[in-house]
Subunit: 208 residues, 2 copies
């Protein structure tokens, strides 16, 4: 711990300020420098905000769990999307992360349901079908009248492998699967698009 | 509040997740996007860290105050620097922010005492001598055997004005003041140094 100018000597426990600076580093993208800046900012200018943040953290950790159907974060048993009667219940869009749900909700007019894997298959890291909740999804495939599974896992090696496994799972129940299209990003210049993407986009070219 | 896909309708209170995302934005440099990323990261991968952060925040807000002599953040009545018998008690280095103490401690072998203003004179924002704790400093000037006041306020207009006022305060008690040297930053190329700095550095040139 390098931030110790307020410590009470070598044998004393680290000061509360050092503790706060260290704790702030549990946030992604926050290193010792930003943590120090945050700590000073909160103590100097926004103690009320810090209090609110502590409360929000405590409540979130204690109360937010996963929706029993789709594994989205929610403080209730089922999330608001699963409970929403206006949503099309025959489509399930499978994504890796909760943030992906947010992105799809914001960018598309998709009105079906979701399933959040909370990761992708990665046997070396001990992440198998059980960790991704695939048994829950399999039960939904057989119990619900699903007619399309949208595989919206990331376009990475792990994401593709996961999509492949999900596709086999759906095929066993005779359910159609679709996968997000791959190609040149909208607004992207060909010069700056990587070769794999160009190759994919070229092979999947459509009638104009 | 744009992050509301988990809300339970328009009339319901915002979900705990939205509350957490909003609360995280009290941190400096954290906008809606990073706050969302942080919230998902904490919920998904580091609930223990989040709990620790909440505790650290609560303890810091409740217990950390200011040293009665130098206004540095501390959970005790006096900070460890003021209590350290090995420090030279005849020198006081006056800085604007607590972070400046850390910077000076790390970069120099200064072994005197400090005084933290917690800002700089800015009458338009309602920050006057009282807010900067100048009465406390004045008392120290008269009660302690101070022989040098190092004016380490920022090299901004407000910092210079503050230094000027501090200099007059010290002069009244017959105490010598010094100011950090201005010039070309170490490692800096003249081409990229601003004109004011070059002018200052040129005027203050020293025998080689």
């Amino acid at each position: 711990m390098s931030v110790n100018y307020l410590d009470d000597g070598e044998l004393a426990p680290p000061s509360l300020l050092s503790l706060l600076i260290e704790s702030l580093q549990c946030l992604p993208g926050v290193g010792p420098k930003s943590a120090q800046r945050m700590a000073f900012h909160l103590l100097q200018r926004n103690r009320e905000g810090a209090k609110g943040l502590a409360d929000a953290l405590n409540r979130a950790i204690d109360e937010i769990g996963h929706c029993k159907n789709c594994r989205i974060f929610t403080e209730h048993e089922s999330c608001s999307i699963c409970l929403d009667a206006s949503r099309v219940r025959t489509k399930i869009c499978v994504v890796e992360n909760p943030a992906d749900v947010f992105t799809i909700e914001k960018s598309t007019d998709y009105k079906g349901l979701y399933f959040v894997l909370m990761g992708s298959l990665s046997p070396l890291d001990g992440i198998g079908p059980q960790e991704l909740g695939l048994p829950i999804l399999e039960r939904r495939f057989s119990e619900e009248a699903v007619d399309e599974v949208i595989l919206a896992t990331n376009s990475t090696v792990e994401g593709e492998v996961t999509a492949h496994v999900l596709n086999e799972m759906a095929a066993k129940q005779g359910i159609k699967t679709t996968r997000l299209a791959q190609g040149v990003p909208v607004g992207g210049e060909l010069e700056f698009v990587d070769q794999n993407t160009i190759a994919q986009a070229f092979a999947s070219r459509k009638t104009y």
